[in-house]
């Protein structure tokens, strides 16, 4: 990629940043890993290694892959995965939240907790597809997993979510 690609990357920062920030906030919910740190590091790493971006995938899926890999490295370091089940719902509240009635707040926090409790391979697919609006080919670019397997994981993730919501007292 030449300098025009880098310039394009800089110009797209205003669109890429909030999207990745929301995605990583959802992905890292309930963990001690700070999404802001991951997002900043991902963008810096991407810019430093911009020559390795071949343009075969979209810029967003490329930066998403970097952020996800950085997060997974952090998970490994902190071995936090097992702790997610014990995270109180309140801790999943964000500074940006604007809940209307209290009931809505409760429902959203339970849903966040249910998503956070999913194993990483299911959680990442649910978040990329539903929260971030990626297509299956895009998710495949990020994860390196074929579309059929991703759809199968999505089925299992939704099944788990239904089960977890039942356990948390919010039966679907």
């Amino acid at each position: 990629m030449d300098d025009s690609g880098k310039e394009q990357f800089r110009q797209q920062l205003h669109e890429l940043y909030p999207r990745l920030m929301r995605a990583m906030t959802a992905y890292l919910a309930g963990s001690t890993v700070d999404p802001e740190d991951i997002v900043q590091e991902a963008f810096l790493k991407a810019y430093q290694n911009f020559d390795s971006f071949e343009g075969k995938s979209g810029m967003y899926t490329w930066i998403y892959s970097i952020a996800r890999n950085l997060s997974i490295d952090e998970f490994r370091k902190r071995k936090y995965e097992r702790l997610l089940h014990s995270v109180p719902s309140d801790e999943l509240e964000l500074a940006s939240d604007t809940f209307a009635p209290d009931e809505q707040r409760e429902e959203i926090l339970i849903l966040r907790k249910a998503i956070a409790m999913l194993p990483e391979i299911f959680r990442s697919v649910v978040l990329m597809k539903i929260i971030d609006g990626m297509s299956y080919p895009e998710i495949s670019e990020v994860t390196g997993v074929n579309e059929q397997t991703l759809k199968n994981r999505m089925f299992r993730a939704r099944k788990e979510l239904a089960k977890t919501l039942k356990l948390l007292g919010a039966e679907p």
């Binding site: 929301r22 810096l44 998503i115 539903i130 199968n152 089925f155 239904a162 679907p172």
Partner: protein, 150 residues
Amino acid sequence: MTEREQLEILITEAIDGTLSGEDLRMLEQKLTKYPGLQEEYRQIRRLPDLAAVYGELRLFHDSDNIQHLLGEFDLIDKGKDKAETGSEWIRLSRYAVAASLAIFAILSLFYVTGGSYTDSYLTAEEMFYPMEESTGENYVLYLNDLFEPN
């Protein structure tokens, strides 16, 4: 892939809303043969919409952080320029050293291969350290004269 796994994929497509009406009817008909899977399908259908769980995109727009990143990008570019200039200088120095060695080797070759080696030819060492009559040698001659029996 088993029929059950194929049905699971079709369920995902149905929930994603990408299945045609006819395919949806076929799926629901096939599910009657799998009561357990049919129940899971019903539960999944009842899941609330997760799309809005993390709020709108604009809430995550942070101008300060974006400006900070742009500043960092500038620093990276400046750092790369410096590194490139440095590596260019190192590369040129290497060429200069290589050229000097090559010239030295060629010159040495002229002296070494210029006919059979005899005392009358200067060696490379002699070029750098020319032989001079030293005081030491004169002293040795003097001693020889002194002790030589007449």
